[in-house]
Symmetry: C2
Subunit: 135 residues, 2 copies
Amino acid sequence: MENRRNFVTKIAAGMAATGFMTIAGKANTHEATMKNVFVHHVFFWLKDPNNKESLTQFEKGLQTLITVPLIQASHIGRPVESAREVVDDSFTYSYIAFFRNKEDQVTYQTHPIHLKFIEDCQHLWEKVIVYDAIG
Amino acid sequence: MENRRNFVTKIAAGMAATGFMTIAGKANTHEATMKNVFVHHVFFWLKDPNNKESLTQFEKGLQTLITVPLIQASHIGRPVESAREVVDDSFTYSYIAFFRNKEDQVTYQTHPIHLKFIEDCQHLWEKVIVYDAIG
């Protein structure tokens, strides 16, 4: 039991240090390397990226979307401007959902919460790119 | 102390359930939502994506790259094929580095390990796209 507790505490410290949660802890790169994770990264370009109402509505949609139970972890972000040519900072929203495996992501595609998100928000975007990676 | 331990164990269970580490635990979406995280996602298109030696050399480079201490967590992935039009599955490697903040990512750009990775591996790729998102 003590060993298990130490193990769990060690993981928590490593994960916490990643910035997912803020508690003291030193990151260990090898502990914090994600393995056997399906990364579903979606970039949205809104039609009207400077319209506050559009942004609010879209963010509300994303906050609901990430409640799909199959999603193991998520990240919602805005672009960080860069002068570097290789950086594409033209998108309006970045949305990452982490799944256990490919099957879960396929199931997620037709989950009612996901379909509702598309129905409620698709009028807001003009372009979407999805990158799915596993490793 | 007991409260702190419970708190840490709860985080560990949540994070473990994300698939980063495999131990029993039920994911809680809100616990597993990453906040205040800088996501640096890089897609590489190799010149010779079917050449095993190129892949091995490139993967070795990535494995070294993720040892940059500023990286709080990382993910290295290969594309998941998809028939969906919005999915771009043409890349050879997906590489994500999670940073605490923008400053750490800027510092990482000129870290000796990062510069060595570029020097050693840049002849292997023909195209790179970087997406930086914070949220």
